[in-house]
């Protein structure tokens, strides 16, 4: 009996082990989808990647626009766009994507700005239909006329899209628009012949079978997204037969999955627990940690709320915060030690002046500014003015340990400087959906993430964008910033066609915003990527399109993943 049991157990373990081994070889059989045109090596291998979040839906211009993991797992691989993003001479720049035959031309006709895109004649959808100017026109109308569109900025300034020549798109603007490069890039271009006359949101909500990119995506809700080569892709064909993004429910599972090579690459958010795990030695892994991102994590100050309705108190607040100490504590182990000094993120550094560099922890300046603002303090007690205490409620999103730690450090720094600080965190939906738009906060810690190389801080700092009746309460200037001298420069950044003038205006605006200390930029929130060393290809971060944007160029050493 005992021997029989042992044999059965042994057989079961062997079978499972065999299963483990055989499935690992799955990628090596060379069985792949159809390869692209041209005399190329056959696509081989299945690569499994980890995805921290599952997108809610795949309607990239509506309710699911701005979904980072939606972009990284499906959109970037299937929706054609006019620009790719590359680092050239140390600067991130837009370069024409394979959809275009060359760089777009910007001209002026009858005093109106005109952008002309010439399409690559080989560009076509996965069903063989050519991608034409009619698709551009359809996309423009879908954005402008659609309901629940995430952001119509720029598209609503288009006067016409001329589609008389299928291979040439002529976009005429009603007024000058400097950020035109973001159009048909972040949203991409949608297929008119497949979506016209249909409910786009419903058609795309659960994923779609068509593609205008190197891959066709199949989304199994809750489980995975599988990419297989698009046989009609006109660019360099994918080298892998299949790419699978597995959705991982927790960061603990994510790192275990990578450690055991259940997934071969991950792109984790820089949370506290992640920092320790990333720095752990793993000779089989490669990694990048970069601060060249589109992120700026900042302390967003409500300029309307006491005591921050006085510029001197805001400045004192900035001198009370030791930003270097916070950044070192959060990301020092990753080699990130310097705070950011502008609200223009690192990928837009050419538009940024290091204006906030002046704010380094300085108790003497705090004392001077608070006294100048009429506050008094007894010994180690808090600052008071007319019987009111300089009290600060610090808010961030619940459940984010890194941000919670940041606020705890900050609370202690502020207490030492004479501010009474307490923490009142909120669920993300409440903070972003209710408290920020209504101005129901004092100091909030969160990140501003941009997905374009075009600058544009007017949306968050121009007085006209303070939520109110004038903008149907849809303004994004949650901090209620009012710096009249800065507004013309911020507005100019949005419309100025001359690049040098635009840079100058942006830097001047930075200086004025820093002088008024409207809010305080903190850290660049680094991007982190880890991958198995058997993956070959240009693996690097792309701050706009994410780590996996060029997965069609990746392959596994020897065809085995």
């Amino acid at each position: 009996m005992r021997r029989w049991t042992t044999m059965v157990t042994g057989a079961l373990v062997c079978a499972l082990a065999l299963g483990a081994c055989s499935s690992s070889g799955e990628g090596g059989n060379g069985a792949g989808g159809p390869s692209g045109p041209g005399p190329t090596r056959k696509a081989a291998g299945t690569l499994v990647l980890g995805a921290e979040q599952e997108p809610d839906c795949a309607d990239w211009i509506g309710s699911c626009a701005g979904s980072a993991w939606g972009l990284w797992t499906i959109q970037v691989h299937t929706i054609p766009r006019v620009f790719d993003y590359r680092k050239q001479a140390g600067v991130w720049t837009e370069v024409p994507s394979p959809l275009l035959a060359g760089a777009p031309e910007v001209s002026e006709r009858d005093g109106k700005q005109v952008v002309t895109y010439r399409l690559n004649p080989a560009a076509r959808w996965s069903d063989g239909t050519p991608i034409t100017s009619a698709d551009f026109r359809f996309t423009w109308r879908a954005v402008v006329d659609g309901e629940d569109i995430y952001d119509k900025t720029g598209y609503d300034l288009i006067e016409s899209v001329d589609d008389s020549d299928p291979r040439t798109v002529v976009v005429t603007f009603r007024e000058r628009y400097a950020s035109w490069r973001g159009l048909f890039a972040a949203y991409g271009v949608l297929p008119r012949h497949l979506l016209e006359g249909k409910d786009r949101a419903e058609e795309m909500a659960d994923g779609y079978e068509w593609s205008g990119g190197p891959w066709i995506a199949r989304w199994r809700k809750g489980e995975s997204v599988t990419l297989t080569p698009n046989p009609r892709w006109w660019g360099p064909p994918p080298k892998l037969a299949k790419v699978v993004f597995k959705f991982l429910a927790s960061s603990a599972a994510e790192f275990k999955a990578f450690e055991s090579r259940t997934v071969k690459a991950i792109y984790p958010q820089p949370q506290l627990e992640v920092v320790g795990k990333v720095t752990r030695r793993d000779p089989q892994a490669r990694r990048f940690v970069t601060t060249e991102t589109g992120n700026v994590e900042a302390l967003w100050v409500n300029n309307d709320r006491f005591p921050f309705d006085d510029v001197r108190v805001r400045q004192a607040f900035a001198y009370a915060v030791d930003r270097e100490a916070i950044v070192r504590r959060l990301f020092g182990r990753l080699g990130v030690t310097e705070p950011v000094h502008s609200f223009n993120p690192p990928i837009q550094s050419r538009y940024a002046a290091p204006a906030f560099e002046r704010y380094r922890a300085d108790p003497r300046r705090v004392e001077e500014l608070m006294r100048a603002a009429g506050f008094r303090r007894d010994g180690d007690g808090p600052w008071r003015k007319d019987g009111r205490v300089a009290e600060v409620v610090l808010t961030t999103t619940t459940g984010n340990k890194r941000r919670e730690l940041t606020l705890q450090i900050l609370q202690e720094q502020l207490r030492r400087a004479g501010f009474r600080a307490r923490i009142g965190n909120l669920p993300p939906a409440d903070l972003f959906g209710e408290h920020l738009p209504n101005g129901d906060f004092q100091v909030a810690l969160y990140a501003q993430v941009v997905t374009t190389l075009d600058p544009g801080l007017c949306v968050v700092f121009c007085a006209k964008n303070i939520p109110g009746p004038d903008n149907d309460h849809s303004g994004q200037n949650f901090t209620r910033t009012r710096v009249p001298e800065a507004d013309p420069f911020l507005e100019r950044v949005d419309v100025e066609a001359d690049e040098q003038e635009r840079i100058a205006a942006s830097k001047r605006a930075d200086e004025l915003l820093a002088e008024a200390m409207v809010s305080l930029p903190l850290d660049p929130l680094p991007n982190i990527g880890l991958w198995d060393r058997r993956i070959e290809g240009p693996v690097a971060d792309n701050p706009v399109l994410g780590m996996f944007w060029n997965v069609h160029e990746w392959r596994c050493r020897g065809g085995r993943c």
């Binding site: 499972l16 995430y150 809750g222 959705f247 055991s260």
Partner: protein, 322 residues
């Protein structure tokens, strides 16, 4: 018997109604369904959603509309994904049912075997060892057990055996984009089923042991033994059959409670079932999904209770309904 089942099913209706109203009301007062839409730059989006969900009307009216639609098979649309809630629930419920079925079967098998073995060696070293392990299992939080199991049985074991990927999977129920009943599926079931059932195996084995010890001391067993009935037959046919009775009731009740366990298990093992659906919906305050989820869960627990009653009656003719 049919009358008994029908009566019990009817009695469950008011329970379901109360449970659904309470969850509906609780979700409405604690969650702002427009929070996500407020982030949209379309100023009309919030107004449209308020109108669609009838948020300006009293909760009772909103609930009435929900019940009316639910009776027509329309559980609403997820505010998070825009997908029909019924479709989301069906998909998640199928995954969770698999976990529960395998978990219950495995737990019952292990618990009965351990309980009987322990009872037959009551007071011995093996009994003490199994008792200690059972208490350890009872005391161990499932999330911690799950992480420990992943570390040891997946990550470390893979390294020790020099495999290219883990012996036991722990991300979903298949490797890559696989599907179906395969060896790979079984490899992915082991750790979540262990995590889900570690507590109930410990509980059920203690129950089985106690019940078995009691039965083995009964006079009719002594008589059977004195008559020379072989030991294996005595244990299996005479003792175990009677000792299973109380356990069956506990098992049927616990299966309903296992729903709570799947929340943790599915989160750790990235399994897209009811537990993960609940967590994700709660995170963003997806009211239609939360309400429907609660009703389905309540229905499941009520059904498990009904099964417990029926099973008990089936096994013990003395309590069979007439």
């Amino acid at each position: 018997m049919l009358t008994f089942v029908a009566r019990r099913a009817l009695a469950a209706v008011p329970v379901l109604l109360v449970a659904s109203f309470l969850s509906f009301w609780f979700v409405r007062v604690t969650v702002d369904p427009t929070a996500k839409v407020r982030q949209s730059r379309d100023p009309q989006a919030v107004a449209r959603l308020r109108e669609r969900l009838r948020l300006d009307e009293p909760v009772v009216v909103q609930y009435g509309v929900w019940v009316r639609d639910a009776l027509r098979g329309d559980l609403g649309t997820s505010e998070r994904t825009g997908e029909p809630v019924s479709r989301m629930l069906r998909r998640a419920l199928w995954t969770t049912t698999q976990l529960l079925l395998w978990g219950t079967a495995a737990a019952a098998l292990v618990a009965v075997a351990v309980g009987v073995y322990s009872a037959l060696r009551a007071g011995g070293v093996a009994d003490h060892l199994l008792t200690t392990l059972a208490f350890l299992g009872l005391a161990m939080p499932p999330f911690w057990f799950g992480l420990l199991a992943i570390q040891i049985l997946a990550v470390d074991l893979t390294r020790w055996l020099g495999l290219s990927e883990p012996l036991f999977g722990f991300v979903g129920l298949h490797s890559g984009d696989g599907s179906g009943f395969t060896l790979d599926y079984l490899r992915h079931l082991v750790l979540p089923v262990m995590t889900l059932t570690v507590g109930i195996v410990a509980e059920w084995s203690r129950f089985q042991r106690a019940s078995m010890v009691e039965v083995l001391a009964a006079p009719y067993i002594r008589t059977a033994r004195a008559k020379g009935v072989p030991r294996s037959r005595l244990v299996v046919r005479h003792a175990l059959r009677n000792a299973l009775l109380p356990l069956v009731t506990v098992m049927a009740l616990d299966v309903g409670l296992l729903f709570g366990g799947v929340i943790v298990t599915e989160q750790i093992f990235s399994i897209p079932g009811m537990g993960r659906l609940f967590v994700e919906s709660l995170r963003v305050g997806d009211a239609p999904v939360l309400v429907a989820w609660t009703v389905v869960t309540a229905a499941f627990v009520i059904a498990a209770n009904l099964v417990a009653d029926l099973a008990y009656g089936f096994l013990d003719p003395r309590v069979r309904p007439r």
